[in-house]
């Protein structure tokens, strides 16, 4: 029976790994992990008589999902949020991919100008974007009604931001307008990184033009599209600013534009005579966290692992 060698030199503890990791770990813990657990913890308490904190277990979650008013507002916000996301996936990302494909064709003139122009809204503040579009669409002073009148479409104009059936879609499209530059840039970079040899080989085989895009380029940029989808998902389910800027905290008309972010804001901080409830607010925040976690996990384990990657 072989004895372990006693006098073998032990590997020294590699302190430098811990030392180099420490700053990142400490900062991340302080500003992300502790607040996250603080929120989860807060959602398990409620404010008792006389301002004391009382542990209530999962009662806040039971209220959120069981009480018809809370659950009505919550599901309304969730469905609205889903619709907000669907519009982005159906409009923003395809347009972004199409624009990137057009911009990456070598013979296009002024490509740099278009690229910059399309990307500029993404660096504007939400406040500016919301205010500008509110003005454009204003039935009183906006250019939209006059412009449509000039085209003979005046009767088609409606105060879109004030109507329940159109307000959310309008806001989603405004957000698409603002952020279409992000998928454009990412896809554009991915398209440029496809080696010329691959494309030349395709041309040798007679695959050119549109079919080259569908058969060669699109499969090669699928991983990037996956990343864009998940970024869109996280961004949309955390969205709040645009709604607050254009429609206020009550997310009118009749809560038609209420998404999880605005619902959380109203619950946590209160609004006008309604005082804020940090505990219910933390409950909503926790549920949002789990919704986003579920979405991201679904992507990571369901989609990401199946994406085929090509090495050049």
């Amino acid at each position: 029976m072989p004895q372990p060698r006693r006098n073998a030199p032990r590997r020294p503890i590699r302190w430098h790994i811990a030392v180099f990791l420490a700053p990142a770990v400490l900062i991340y813990t302080a500003i992300m992990i502790i607040p996250l657990f603080g929120t989860l913890n807060l959602s398990l308490f409620t404010r008792g008589e006389g301002g004391t904190r009382e542990f209530v277990g999962l009662a806040n979650f039971a209220t959120l999902f069981g009480d018809p008013r809370w659950s009505g507002a919550f599901w309304n916000a969730t469905w609205n949020n889903l619709w907000f996301f669907i519009i982005h996936m159906l409009v923003q990302n395809p347009i972004g991919i199409a624009l990137a494909a057009i911009l990456s064709t070598p013979r296009l003139r002024f490509a740099a100008f278009y690229r910059t122009a399309i990307f500029i809204p993404a660096i504007l503040s939400f406040v500016i974007v919301g205010f500008v579009w509110k003005l454009i669409l204003s039935p009183l002073w906006g250019v939209a009604p006059n412009f449509m009148d000039a085209l003979g479409l005046g009767n088609w104009f409606a105060p879109w931001l004030g109507l329940e059936r159109s307000a959310l879609t309008t806001l989603a499209l405004i957000s698409v307008w603002q952020f279409v530059g992000i998928p454009l840039m990412l896809i554009y970079a991915a398209l440029l990184s496809i080696p010329d040899e691959v494309l030349e080989a395709a041309e040798m085989d007679g695959i050119t033009g549109a079919s080259q895009f569908w058969k060669i380029k699109l499969p090669l940029i699928l991983p990037t599209i996956g990343i864009i989808s998940i970024l869109t998902f996280v961004g949309n389910f955390n969205a709040f600013d645009l709604i607050y800027v254009t429609q206020g905290a009550l997310a009118g008309p009749n809560y038609a534009t209420d998404i999880l972010g605005s619902f959380l804001f109203r619950t946590f901080f209160g609004f006008q005579l309604q005082l804020g409830d940090p505990h219910m607010g933390a409950t909503v925040a926790t549920v949002m966290f789990f919704i986003i976690l579920a979405g991201v996990s679904l992507y990571l384990f369901g989609v990401q692992t199946r994406l085929r990657r090509y090495q050049f």
Partner: protein, 417 residues
């Protein structure tokens, strides 16, 4: 609480020990009235500082919509200013109950206020008062005198006359009859529902009955104002669904709309913006009712942060505010915010005088959903915003709106269960 007290104590000791107690105490004033910043800095603060050596004031307003939540957070964190502008009713009452506002019951000058004026900042039994009542706002309608003259219109006093005037402006076609939008929702509830509703629920009588649970929001007294609002929509001009409050103000001050359902707080802004003569009339009386009512809403009080180290200076400032000099300054500097103090006050603005004169003819009441019935979740006052806007948009019938508000109130308020 104990940590805060310890903190104050140790600060005080530290100040005494070093022997460098500052000659000038600076009191920071928290307020949501960022519109009034120049009035405070140029008129009120110099007037006070001239009379009180050693006390300096610093007016630090913020955006109205953020005020309540921001103030609560600041008070909890111990970073709020010394002087706190008080919202009416429960928002401030809660602060007092949490020991964040000082008790001002025995403040010099508090005897200048009636119990009604103090009601918004007193405990439910009226035994303790924690804010000095500063101002009230009165609802009514402001109209463009030039348009009325041009079209030969008389100022309406009854509901029928009111709609006849609206029809006449509409028929002329040159002006939008009434400037109001529902994008921000609160216009519909405040300048619409609370404004005209007082004549239907008969002021304090109806308000008390609602609080006592004797009258329900599905009763005619509370649904009829919604029916009136639904009748307003055709007169509001194109796209009122997405017209915001500043849009409405601009429409009126640019002379494009004839009537503005208003609160008296508009007077100062309209005086600056509009270059035409303006008049005002109280909410028109429905046929077959006796007497008239106005919404004379206690809107603004001012109190003292209990955690402030400058209690003495703060009390000196607050008791100065109860007096005749401060009341006149405030009332004339901010026309449309009417003093609640019984100290002698003369108003210079004729439009403000017109609003104030209604106090003599009509009975005053406050907005119906502010005291007691907005204590729970869902909040009746906030719900009424959505309800009034929905009725004007045609999403809900007036009856559905009453039903929805009643269901919300019944879900938590014992007298209605």
């Amino acid at each position: 609480m104990t940590t805060r007290k310890t903190l104050i104590l140790s600060t005080a000791i530290a100040l005494c020990a070093t022997g460098t107690v500052a000659q000038d105490v600076t009191l920071t004033i928290e307020s949501w009235r960022n519109d009034d910043i120049s009035i405070w800095r140029n008129q009120i603060i110099p007037a006070f500082e001239a009379a009180h050596e050693g006390i300096k004031l610093d007016f630090q307003p913020m955006a109205p919509a953020q005020y309540n939540s921001a103030l609560n957070s600041k008070l909890d964190a111990g970073t709020a200013g010394d002087i706190i502008t008080c919202r009416a009713f429960d928002a401030s009452l809660q602060l007092f109950e949490r020991d964040q506002l000082s008790d001002l019951t025995d403040l010099d000058g508090m005897e200048n206020f009636s119990d009604v004026a103090k009601s918004a900042w007193s405990t439910d039994d009226g035994s303790q008062t924690f804010c000095v009542p500063l101002a009230s706002v009165i609802h009514g309608f402001i109209y463009n005198t030039e348009i009325f003259e041009e079209l030969g219109l008389e100022v309406p006093t009854t509901e029928d006359e009111f709609f006849a005037v609206l029809d006449a402006i509409d028929a002329d076609g040159g002006y939008i009859p009434m400037a109001m939008g529902i994008n921000d929702q609160w216009e519909a509830a405040t300048m619409g529902y609370a404004n005209i509703g007082v004549n239907f629920w008969r002021g304090e009588e109806g308000r008390a009955a609602l609080i006592a649970g004797e009258s329900r929001l599905t009763d005619d007294a509370w649904v009829e104002p919604f029916r009136q609002l639904a009748r307003w929509s055709p007169y509001l001009g194109r796209g009122f669904e997405s017209q915001s409050y500043p849009d409405s103000q601009n429409l009126f001050t640019l002379g494009r709309a004839a009537i503005f359902p208003a609160g008296s707080w508009e007077i100062a802004g309209f005086r600056e913006q509009a270059d035409f003569e303006m008049g005002a009339f109280p909410p028109p009386v429905p046929a077959g009712t006796e007497g008239c009512f106005i919404s004379d809403h206690t809107d603004m009080g001012i109190g003292l942060n209990a955690a402030s180290p400058n209690q003495e200076a703060g009390r000196a400032f607050l008791s100065w505010l109860t007096g005749s000099e401060a009341s006149s300054l405030l009332a004339n500097a901010i026309p449309g915010f009417f003093p609640l103090s019984s100290a002698e006050v003369t108003l210079e603005d004729p439009l403000a005088q017109e609003f104030l004169s209604w106090r003599e003819q009509c009975e005053s009441t406050i907005r119906p959903f502010h005291q007691i019935v907005s204590r729970g979740t869902p909040n009746l006052s906030n719900e009424s915003w959505t309800a009034a806007a929905n009725v004007m948009r045609g999403t809900w019938t007036p009856e559905e709106a009453g039903e929805a508000l009643q269901t919300g109130l019944s879900s938590w308020y014992a007298p209605h269960q």
